[in-house]
């Protein structure tokens, strides 16, 4: 069966960090000019994950539902910002941030809550050991799908405005005029999760399953967990991207079905 859990020492982390430094040096030598971003991203993930470890430790200890809600709120808020900042042509004002964030609330948060309440059923049902990691997995993945879908919609609507207006002029409804672009955006948002489900277990050992196995869990149990997560992520991405694309494409037209690209920037 599975071996014992091996804790990591700071020295172990240092070895991995050295490898990262090596790639940074490579980038500098080849003039890829990503070494700065690589370094900042590495520093950010170090600080963020260490902090998360500490925070989760105290949240697990206190079990306070208020703290859990606060934590979920912060995670959602940051995910919303990330999805917003990854778009080239995004909606102006609160619509830009709100559309992605609301879609993640509808998909990730609700699905994460449902899966602990209905599927896992820990006591209490909002036990942070289940809820927070699940939400993190959901948010991290739906965020990508939603950002790609909204980015595609914004860029396509911008560059193909002539085609959209040509259909409006001929008396098509706003929905018909942007239908092709909307479908394309949704497809673009869903392709990453479809691909990762296709190769799961053949090429990639998904992150969560890897973690469970490294932590000494039984591989078959880990596979079941991973399968559940994949399904939840796919459902959440589909739900979230659909809602984001619908809200955003609705916002691209006004009450007289005019294409309003002035609402993008």
């Amino acid at each position: 069966m599975s071996g014992p859990f091996i804790p990591l020492s700071p020295g172990d982390l240092l070895i991995a960090a050295l490898l990262l430094m090596l790639s940074g040096a490579l980038s500098w030598r080849l003039q890829l000019s990503v070494e700065r971003r690589l370094l900042i991203a590495a520093a950010r993930s170090t600080v963020q994950l260490m902090l998360l470890g500490l925070i989760l430790h105290s949240i697990f200890a206190s079990q306070s539902s208020w703290l859990i809600m606060l934590m979920m709120g912060v995670m959602l808020g940051v995910a919303g910002y990330e999805a917003w900042s990854r778009q080239t042509r995004r909606l102006r004002g609160w619509w830009g941030y709100g559309t992605g964030t609301l879609s993640m609330l509808l998909s990730s948060v609700l699905i994460a809550l449902m899966s602990v309440a209905v599927i896992l059923q820990p006591t209490p049902w909002y036990h942070p050991q289940y809820l927070i990691p699940l939400l993190g997995m959901m948010l991290g993945n739906t965020m990508t799908g939603i950002a790609v879908a909204m980015d595609t919609l914004g860029r396509e609507a911008w560059s193909r405005r002539g085609e959209i207006e040509a259909r409006l002029m001929l008396g098509d409804t706003a929905g018909d005029a942007i239908g092709d672009i909307r479908r394309g955006a949704l497809r673009a948002g869903l392709i990453p999760i479809i691909n990762s489900m296709t190769t799961a277990g053949l090429v990639s050992l998904p992150g969560m399953m890897t973690g469970q196995i490294l932590a000494g869990g039984a591989p078959f149990e880990a596979a079941k967990y991973q399968l559940m997560i994949l399904f939840l992520i796919a459902a959440g991405t589909a739900l979230g991207s659909t809602s984001a694309v619908l809200i955003m494409s609705h916002r691209l037209f006004d009450e007289r079905e005019r294409l309003r690209l002035d609402r993008l920037k």
């Binding site: 040509a166 002029m169 001929l170 008396g171 706003a174 006004d254 007289r256 079905e257 005019r258």
Partner: protein, 194 residues
């Protein structure tokens, strides 16, 4: 009866008020950038605007925007195409329309990118007329056509007008063409119709 425009305005367009009876053609000319296109787009409700427009007594504000545009159709000077080939843009184009402008049904298989600007303009006219709008807003519909094709297009538009008793607003730079097709002529100067 006909097209009635009352106080129609938007940035770049001073309030415009006029009436155009069914079956009549109003020609508009004026320097480029004077606001002719803005006026036609505003009538078709393609850009935010203020004012009242009605067709045969039916107010624009009282119907859905797409229903309005299905009846009052705008033909831009450089029409866009949303598919690679002609066919997806053609919902029941009658052979008579195709033949009148020198095409046959094989044109449906053609690629848009292979068409000349004149061919595109003629096909765009067919695309509009085939949908039988009750009023036409034509923005230099023959600008890219040679004289023969221009006359053929004018004839086709005249046929449509007789058949549907359409009110037509026609932007044209060509004084000879205006003399042929206009019942009335107005000039656009710095956003003012006069």
């Amino acid at each position: 009866m006909g097209l009635r425009v009352n106080g129609l305005q938007r940035p770049g367009l001073k309030p415009a008020t006029f009436e155009l009876a069914s079956g009549k053609t109003l020609c508009i000319h004026g320097a480029s950038g004077s606001g002719k296109t803005l006026l036609l787009r505003a009538i078709a409700d393609l850009d935010p605007n203020r004012g009242q427009v009605s067709l045969d007594g039916q107010a624009r504000a009282g119907m859905a925007a797409h229903a309005w545009r299905r009846q009052v159709m705008y033909l831009p000077p450089e029409p866009h195409w949303w598919a690679d080939r002609v066919a997806p843009h053609a919902n029941h184009w009658p052979d008579s329309l195709l033949q009148a402008l020198g095409f046959d049904t094989t044109v449906l298989d053609w690629e848009i990118s292979q068409l000349s600007s004149g061919e595109r303009q003629r096909l765009a006219l067919i695309r509009v007329l085939a949908r039988s709008p009750r009023a036409l807003l034509l923005d230099e519909p023959t600008a890219n056509l040679d004289p023969d094709n221009s006359l053929a297009a004018e004839g086709l538009i005249a046929d449509h007008q007789r058949q549907h008793h359409s009110a037509i607003i026609w932007v044209s730079h060509d004084p000879v063409q205006r003399a042929r097709v206009a019942d009335r002529t107005l000039e656009m100067v710095d956003g003012t119709l006069r």
